[in-house]
Amino acid sequence: MTTLAKELETYEKLLPSLLREQGRYAVITGDTLIGVYVSYEDALKIGYEHCGLTPFLVRKVSQEKTVLHFSRDMDVLCRA
């Protein structure tokens, strides 16, 4: 499984209940929501405290899929 695949699945399952925290950052490891935090840096801090150096997901809670735009073509490395 791709890194964070389980966490992304968990995020999608939890999204309906997370929407009341829209704009904040969810921290997820495996199928567990660790918490939701105001800032990206706070979310990372808690994630590292809980998970050590094991990968965890930090995701900004949003109903809409946020898309970043680039006016330059890149050799994009897509997730497998």
Partner: protein, 146 residues
């Protein structure tokens, strides 16, 4: 505000930036008494057309990082409505000049490949929004104040 002046070359305005592990990760590694990687010096193209900062994969490998998120991105060659999904990593970004520096302690950045472009990545508007950028085409100098 401290400033760094970079020449505008045929490749654009390229600025030297230090990329390190994010400060939260640094704190955790220090608590675990694990050796922390040195920051990496990179050449980034100042790109006002980039929503976010992107870095070549070798930087994350050097820093021993794994993804902590994903990002959906749209480029000129992306089919409408079908953005690419890319890995995202938490890093620190330091702009330094003449002994002064500005550090962004925890920034999510996207992984892309710039191997054949002569640069290590793009400095996007996520960082530029906190800077003052002056593009002086007549003099061929770009000034980034931070």
């Amino acid at each position: 505000m401290p400033s760094v002046n970079v020449p505008i070359t045929s490749d654009g305005a390229i600025v030297r930036i230090r990329i390190g592990i994010s400060i939260p990760r640094l704190g955790q590694m220090q608590r675990l008494k694990i050796a922390t990687p040195d920051p990496v010096e990179c050449r980034l193209l100042i790109d006002t057309g980039a929503s976010g900062t992107c870095l070549d994969g070798w930087i994350f490998q050097n820093l021993g990082l794994e993804p902590s998120g994903i990002a959906n991105i749209q480029t000129p060659s992306t089919s409408a409505g079908k953005p690419h999904v890319c890995n995202e990593y938490d890093v620190s970004v330091t702009i330094a000049h003449d002994g002064l520096h500005c550090i962004f302690t925890a920034i999510p950045v996207i992984e892309s490949s710039f191997t054949h472009h002569g640069i290590d990545g793009l400095l996007g508007r996520d960082i530029l929004k906190d800077c003052l950028l002056v593009y002086n085409g007549n003099l061929g100098i770009c000034t980034l104040s931070f």
